[in-house]
């Protein structure tokens, strides 16, 4: 029987590292305040590298690791809330640069749940469209959406990209076991970025096109995350006919270490099963889950045969969980 396997993972973060102390040079905040409330110590900020540039670096690393011919890729999806442009899709730019001429390419917008939603799309397309090989990348350049005068959001985010080559194949013990996706559109206003206004008159020959920066209602989003993520994980575990104790690691979107600890507490699971790397990267939105997964695989913490719960949550509002056997 054919199963779906995450065959290779890779990550790339831009070289510029901004620690909390650096932020205090131009905003009223402190390392202690940021660390205590978020767990973040530093983040990478992209200077002159676009979302597609970051994704391309990951794509090249994936091709190098795997030795796959780019022409063998059937599908490239980039999950991002900070794409290069409304069109073309960032995935299409990546495809052109790595010459993956046979791949169908598009982006998906599900903010910090983007990678989890992407896993569902990849699974469905591989199974239902006779495809074999997919590249799924989360790539974010959130720094360009931030109001760097707004200390309540500016301290939270970092730039980066990470992804995986995912394959439908025989002779693998890996598999996608179950998933749970949920969207709460009537709370969409609690987390927004890049809102553009419609025309006010026609013809509009001299207006300057503008978009809004990142805005978040902290309490609402915190409440949403700490209530909905445990429920999503429980639904996915139940669909998989597993118990929480069967999950080796819960790889959660790295939005805030306090949220992650609260989710662990609500699920009555040991915090050690909830690895964290937000201290080094901040919230990298759709890149955060694969970025953490790649680190854990590289460090030998996640091994073949382990059962993982990957869970994302964010703008939309969206939440989702995938249970996989790695």
């Amino acid at each position: 029987m054919e199963n779906i396997e995450i065959s290779y993972t890779a990550r790339y973060v831009p070289p510029e590292v901004i620690d909390n102390q650096r932020l205090t040079e131009f905003m009223d905040t402190s390392d202690e305040w940021i660390s205590q409330r978020t767990g973040i110590k530093k983040r990478h900020i992209s200077l002159n590298e676009s979302t597609a540039d970051l994704a391309e670096k990951v794509a090249e690393k994936l091709l190098t690791k795997s030795g796959w011919n780019p022409n063998s890729l059937d599908l490239i999806i980039v999950a991002t809330m900070s794409p290069n442009s409304f069109t073309p899709a960032t995935a299409a730019i990546v495809q052109g640069r790595i010459s993956a001429d046979n791949a169908v390419c598009f982006d998906i917008s599900a903010a910090c749940s983007g990678y989890i939603y992407g896993l569902s799309i990849v699974e469905a397309m591989l199974r239902n469209m006779n495809l074999k090989r997919a590249m799924l990348i989360g790539s974010e350049n959130i720094s360009k959406l931030i109001d760097w005068n707004d200390r309540s959001t500016a301290v939270l985010f970092g730039d980066g990209a990470a992804g995986a080559l995912i394959e439908l194949k025989e002779d693998t013990d890996s598999k996608f076991i179950s998933s749970d996706l949920k969207t709460i559109g009537n709370e969409a206003e609690f987390l927004t970025a890049g809102i553009t206004d419609p025309l006010e008159k026609f013809p509009d020959l001299d207006s300057i096109r503008k978009y809004t920066t990142f805005k978040m209602d902290g309490r609402r989003v915190y409440t949403f995350a700490t209530r909905e993520v445990p429920q999503s994980i429980l639904r996915a575990v139940q669909k998989a006919n597993l118990s929480l104790e069967d999950i080796d690691y819960f790889i959660l979107h790295q939005a805030n270490s306090r949220i992650i600890r609260q989710v662990a507490k609500k699920l009555k699971q040991n915090e050690e099963k909830f690895p964290i790397n937000i201290d080094s990267f901040g919230n990298t939105s759709a890149a955060s889950e694969p970025l953490l997964l790649d680190e854990l695989i590289e460090n030998g913490i996640v091994k073949r045969g382990m059962t993982l719960a990957l869970s994302g949550f964010g703008g939309g509002l969206t939440v989702g969980t995938h249970i996989i056997k790695y």
């Binding site: 409330r37 902290g218 309490r219 915190y222 409440t223 700490t226 209530r227 609260q262």
Partner: protein, 80 residues
């Protein structure tokens, strides 16, 4: 619920969330200064009270002391 019952509920949640001794959760205790809570702790305390008592609470409703929480929760319960 009586005010004493509300206080007991608030104490249970604050003790659990902040890992403090119940004897420290007095009506006059300042949540941030005396019990060492930060804004996310207050969010969580309010969320737990919302879930347990089926009411809606705002986090920035001039809450400073445990008495403030008890009074606010009692008011919302009475308005249900």
């Amino acid at each position: 619920m009586t005010e004493a019952e509300v206080l007991k509920k608030v104490q249970d949640i604050v003790v659990e969330q902040l890992d403090v001794d119940v004897d420290d959760v007095t009506l006059t205790a300042d949540i941030k200064d005396d019990l060492d809570a930060d804004s996310l702790d207050v969010f969580e305390i309010m969320n737990e009270l919302e879930d347990d008592l089926d009411i809606k609470l705002e986090a920035d409703e001039n809450i400073k002391t445990i008495q403030d929480v008890v009074t606010y929760v009692k008011k919302e319960l009475d308005n249900k």
